[in-house]
Symmetry: C2
Subunit: 216 residues, 2 copies
Amino acid sequence: MSVHMRPEEIEAESFRIIEEELGPHDWSAQDWPLVRRAIHTSADFDYARSMFIAKGAVDSGIAALKAGCGIVTDTTMIISGMSKERLKQFGVLVSCYVADPQVAKDAKAQLITRSIVAMRKGARDPKNGIFVIGNAPTALYELIRLIREERVRPKLIVALPVGFVGAAESKEALKELAKEFPDLPFITNTGRKGGSNVAAAVMNAILIQAQSSPAF
Amino acid sequence: MSVHMRPEEIEAESFRIIEEELGPHDWSAQDWPLVRRAIHTSADFDYARSMFIAKGAVDSGIAALKAGCGIVTDTTMIISGMSKERLKQFGVLVSCYVADPQVAKDAKAQLITRSIVAMRKGARDPKNGIFVIGNAPTALYELIRLIREERVRPKLIVALPVGFVGAAESKEALKELAKEFPDLPFITNTGRKGGSNVAAAVMNAILIQAQSSPAF
């Protein structure tokens, strides 16, 4: 690689290599940029097989971004990983309540994780509608409960918690939930992998599509 | 998983699963916690085979942290991913110059990436001595140049750039450099994988060891 390669050129060449090495696949023109960016950020081709994008999820997410819908994340890493410039263009606010001192206090008092309390706090604010989870299965389980029991209706869910305790199971629980709510706009994967970097990459791919979509 | 499992319990159970599934390995007692945390944050057992920790690197990193040595990163995601509490206990400052407006200006003028200019800026400040790269191969190539040509002498290098253009090659270049500088305190891996999440996880593992080491 030349030191004079521009970032856009490096990205384009990365995408070319990904497509060349992966070969033919069944992803739609709308979904593929999300999967490709997940692979790009992790160098892990597993995402070509493990990602799951519900029908209508990307469109719902794009509409929500255009409407300036707030984003709730379960880590500050996701916030760092999302394109500040693109978020600003949509006037979208991003919140992560996990580090909130009151959240820590409530979690301790109730003997539950801060991620759960933070998710509740995020869902309570009607300005929020996009939920991005890259770390805690407990955050995803709580979001599932909020949808089932408390009539929370997300405009987009990006559910990519990572790890060995509960991550894979929480994603399966989300897919089960979608049987009760057939229009649930969610993006997830199968298995233990995921993470804040991959969740941020998926959101960046949606932000790029939102910018180039006709009505913006 | 129970919603009443505490974060420490979830982590301990994750480590137990990782060790059970991986089985016997050759990592030393000092290096294994770093590798285990890389696996923990990515759910990717590849790191058990691909990580490379130079002899003395962890000790050098611990000594540098204890001396309050500044950390330079190539992404703000790494900063978000490191334990703020632990960094504070050592009085260690972390800087990422990539978003610095002057860095952007200089990069444009010189037709090089912001990561290169940011790395130069970080190396120029004598308070900095720990370099953590989780994204840009160009940042790692520049650090290699600074060591070889400008007598920069890092106390610790965590080199885990990710991607399809230059990432694997830049890590091999670092290993080549280590033949010229046999005491180079570096941690890297083989191949394309890596990322800000894994780089932050490795740093967190070192921070934990630094806290429990006798002289702290």
